[in-house]
Every structure is written in structure tokens, then in C-alpha cells.
Amino acid sequence: MTDATRGMVEPQAVGRPLERLLSGPRPSFDEANELVRKRYAREARFRMMGLGAIIVAMSLLGLLLLSVATQGYRAFWQTYITLDIALPQEEIDPEGTGGPDVIGRANFQGLINDTLYAMFPDVEDRREKKALRGLVSSGAALDLRDRVMADPSLIGSDHAFALVASDDIDQLVKGVIDRNVAESERRVKDHELAWMDVLEADGRVETRFNTILFTHGDSREPELAGIWGAVVGSFYMMLVTLFLAVPIGVASATYLEEFAPKTRLTDFIEVNINNLAAVPSIVFGLLGLAVFLQVFHLPRSAPLVGGLTLTLMTLPTVVVATRAALRSVPPSIREAALGMGASKVQAVAHHVLPLALPGILTGSIIGMAQALGETAPLLMIGMVAFIVDIPATPLDPATALPVQIYLWADSPERAFTERTAAAIMVLLAFLILMNALAVFLRRRFERKW
């Protein structure tokens, strides 16, 4: 570069400040100011973009939560219709034995029907009678039976019972079904509206907190469907996962990190554990099907198998988190312990592991939370199924919470829409709780070095 060219500003170099600085003359004060201004502007733009990304993400999340909450809140209430039902001794328990098997076999549906017919004596047409019976849920008779069995002294007199209304009536009372559309396009017909108006004027219709949603298993009738079966199924699966994934994961991570010699083999294992963490979850489902069902012949749809499959999925997460936690414990701790005459195992078990515990717990809880939200691996092992009975052991057929959401979302009945959203809210609450626990444990036990 000669002195002659040094004084000239080449036009194409204007946009490339670094090159200009290196090749051109020393920039003037104004030029330098200009460069600084540009740099600040770029920085401001970068910050704005970051902020924009966060705003977009937050508003999408807000939108999701809002739509779930606005749809789901209604499911926490359920309409009940109060009827004065006569419980004649001669129909329920003619011999006065009081035995549960005698009372259990009585025709409680008939008693409910008779009460309704007596309240609306003009209804004679067969189809209309069917519609009248349909105001209360088909599950109301079972509920009435259980209540009478629990208290046989009710038999022989009249009592007011609040009975679960059917899903269409419930939707009508909640205002989801619009009274003002033409009758042919409405699930609830004009005569049903008239009956409901009479019942409402009598003060017999009320909405209560929906305990069924939290205490029952699945049902094809939306008003009788609950998430308890799925919650229990998820609980058993989490239990199996917790007791297998955490000990195995922590043990293998500790061995690999603290004891194993650095050889090609351990490197190979390390790379593969990291790879496993990225494998799509459906693959673990296929593995579960091939190993646990086809080789070990464990029962289909059982939470035990679900838990084992989710263990496979959670293991890499636990191993990776544990190794990171162990690595963050300073070597001076190990060296001090060894220097005081502790054996390798003592140094690890007494000093390193307890100090790494917050990190291990956080990793494990986040892995478990991931497993709680999985449906794909469960599909292959038959847990995506309609199961009414609440599982009593991890070997009984069961579903999981996310599966229940999936099944309800696929159901034609309109009342399942709000229950789907309610189940999503419950699942989200569990996930937030688990993540909050992870944050709490980290805050509480974290050590700064």
C-alpha cells in the first residue's frame, strides 16, 4: 500500500468498517463516531429482536393457556337435578333383609323413571318418555343404588336426591347449547326445554362442583367421565420409572464419571447415551413392545410395562444430568477426601454424590416430567385404550393422563370438549408442580464454589 492510495477513500469499502480501518487511513473523529453509532444501533436491533422473540413466545403460550382455561373452566361444574324419589320397601327389599345383594339388584332406574313420569303426567308418547328419562344421566341409577346401599334406613320413605343431569342438559344449563336456534338443529328439543323450565322454576336444577371428574374412571357418557383412572395409571408408571430410572441412571453415571477408565469403549458408551437422549419416543414404545410384551410376556396395557418403557426413555436424561452434576463438583473435594485417607468409594459416596445431589434431583424430576407427558410410546404397548375400572395394581390395565386427553379430544360428544380442556389443565398443573419442585430443590441445596 503506497502513500498515494492511503489518502483515498475507496467507495466500495464504505460498508466494511473493519477492512477500512485496517487498510484505510486512521479514521477521523466523525467517522469513528459514526462507527460507534452504527455499532450501538446494531446492538439495539439485536436486543429488540430478542425481546420480540420472547414476546411472541409468551403471547403464544398465553393464547394456549387462555383457550384451554376458557374452554375448560366449565367442566369443573356439573348440573344436578333434584328429584323427590319414593323408596318403597316392597320394591327395593320386600322381605326387609337389608342385605346389600338384595338392595343392589333393585330396579333403581325404574324408581327414577316413575318419579319423572309422575311429575309430567301428560307425557305418553314412547319417544317422548325416552327423552324425559334422558334428562338425568344413565349413571344416576347406579349412584342412587350406592347411596341407598350405604344407608338402608332411607328405604320406605320419600327423599330428595340430587341426580347427575345428562350431558346435553348440562350443556344447555351452562349455555353451550343455544336455546334460540331452530329445534331441528338443536340437541335439546323443545319439549325438553319445557320440562327443564318447569324443573328450574321449582328450584330443582343446580350446578355443583364436579367431583365426578376427579373421582371416576373413563366413561362414554361425558357427565360420568373422570380422570381418576388415568391419574392412578400415571402415578403407577411414574413410580416404576422413579424406582428404576433414577437408581440405574445415577449408578451408571457415577461409574462412568468417577470410576471408569477413559478408553475407547467408555467414549463409545458416552456418545451413545447422548444419542439415546435424542431418539424419538415412539422408538422406545416399539422397543417396549418387542422386549416387554413379546419376549417377557408381560400383560398388555399395564402401567408396569408403561413404566418400564418410560424408564428406557428417561434413563439418558438422568445419566446426562447426573454426569453434569458430578462434573460440577470441584476436584479439590475428591482430592481432599483421598488425601485424608478415604477410599475412592468413600470419597464419592460421602462427599461427591451428596454435593451433586441438587443437580441429580433436578435432572431426574425434569426427566420424570417429560415422561409424564408422553403418549407415543404408550400407543405401542396398548395403553391408549378405553378403560373404565380404576387400576388397583401396576398390573391392571390402565391409561395415563395425556392418553385420556387424546381419547376425549377424539370423542364426538360436545361435552367432552370442555372435559378435554379440564384434563389438560390438571396435567399442566402436575407438570408445573414438578418443575417448581425441581427449582425449589436447586435453590435450597445449591452450593456455590
Binding site: E185, A251, A385, V388
Partner: protein
Amino acid sequence: MRKILLSTAALAAIAAAGEAQARDQIRIVGSSTVFPFSTAVAEQFGNKTDFATPVVESTGSGGGLKLFCEGVGENTPDITNSSRRIKSSEVELCATNGVKDVTEVKVGFDGIVLANSKEGPKLNVSREQIFLALAKQVPVDGQLVDNPYTNWHEIDASLPDEKIEVLGPPPTSGTRDAFVELVMEEACESFPEIEALDGDAKDAACATMREDGAFIEAGENDNLIVNKLKENPVALGIFGFSFLDQNLDVMQGSQVDGVDPTFDAIAAGDYPVSRSLYFYVKNAHADVVPGIREYIAEFTSDAAFGDDGYLADKGLIPLPEEDREEVRSQANNLQPLSL
């Protein structure tokens, strides 16, 4: 290390217990279309009898028959639901795996509707017009060409001046199979240009849906299609009758060949796009797994699949009365299927 040993031992113990425990509940797999009906019967059966409530999985018709034909034994399902008849290849597969006697039970009909939002125009289409709107290749002036139609109006002057936009199920769905069979393949026969083709080329021309954006595969979930249609009044959707029945306040079904998709029209066989629904029972299991005979009796009782039964409330379209009698006696006697 001791922990690992302990948990392995615990696992082995649980596994052994699982092996020893005999299955006491019925296992049902199969079609997602029959699923809502099958589960309703399972629930009633569980409430009415002392047997455990059957476990029902929704695996699709093909997937269900595959599991069903895997063999006889505790780890195979007892019953599979199907939204189409069992194929002869599947009967052979069953037989080679030792599933010899299978009882077929026809339970009713399901209509497939072409529907749109009430805000849009109500259509009256023929199956030929649906074919012209949705097939990948259509005959124009004696030649098979890539589907040129973008507006219903172009197909026939009687149809509304609206863009062709149809949301439908993906090829994995039984509803799609039935739609292709009942609409596309039927309509195809009235076009001499396609009839002139031979074998495979003809099948492909009849069954291939267009891929240029006018037909959109909207996923297996019919509720999702209904929701998308509410947002977009121009679009039409293809889904099962029960979903139209539940959403009649916002959706309208198009007339096909001049017939409205109503409960009565489908039951009478007037509405052309309807199919039969079935379930298949493994006879070898009937005396091993408790409750199978009682489950069949519950499903084929008039309280369930009759004209006023609870399955009709769920959207199943009942068989005519005389057919029901026949189905009931064949099913309760476990009369083996012969194709």
C-alpha cells in the same frame, strides 16, 4: 449396585406374578369408527354384570385384524372391531396362525357425510361431481388430464360459485377407505374414459385424490375437521355421521345424489355413502375368557343396537329389524364365518 440388584429382583417377581395371573377381562381392539359404540357397550356390560369392564383399544380396522389374527392365547385380543368386512387374505392369515373359527357380527351402519358450516351454501352434489372435484385425474374431452377444476361452478352450473376446498381424513383412516370405495370408485364407473383403462391404471385413476391443495388431509381427528370448518365457511369436510349429528347447530350436511344425510335416510339405505360396521369374535376364546358370550348378548340386545337403543343415541344407525334377528341368533350361537 445393591439398588440395581434389588430393583431387578423386584421386577422379576412382578413379571412372574403377571405370568401366573389369568386374564379375567375381555380385550377388544380395532376400528376407531366402532370404538365409541364398542366402548359404550363395554361400559354398560361392566355396570350390568359382575364381569370386569372390557378393555377397548382403538387401533384402526387393519391394525386390529392383524393383532386379532396373531394367534390364540391370553396375549391376543378376543374381539376386533372393523369398519369394513374382513378380507379373505386376513381370514387366511388367521387360519395359518391357528385362529380357525371366527364369528362375524354386523352391528349397524355408519354414514359418511360431506358437510360445511351453516354460513356457507348448502350443496346438492352427485357422486360424479364429487369425483370431478376431488380426483387427481379427471376425463375432459375424452382425455384423462390433471384435475383442472378450482371452483364448484366449473363442474356444474347448478353448484355454487365457490372455491373447491375439501378437508378429509388421511389414507390411514378407515373413513378414507370407505369414502374412496363408496364415492370415488362408484362414480368412476360412469366415466367411459376411465372404464377403458385396464386393471391397475383404472384402480389408481379411481382411488387417487388430488394433491394440488383442493383436497386437504386434515388428520384422523374428526373434531379437528369440524372445528376447521367452523372457521372457514367455504371449506367442506368429510367425516362420520356422528360428528355431524352432534354439531347440527353449526354444520349442514350436503345432499348426495339428492338425499340429505339424516338418521332415517341412512337407516333406510337411501343415502348412498354408508357402510356396515362389524366386530369379529375369536370362538376359541369364548369359553376361556369369562364374559364373551354375555358381551355379545349385550351388544346384540335391542336395548343396545335396536332402533331406540343407547347405541342409536351415540350415532350408530341400526340394522333393519329382520336383519337384527338374524345377526342376534348367529352371534349368540357363535356361528363361524365362512367367506
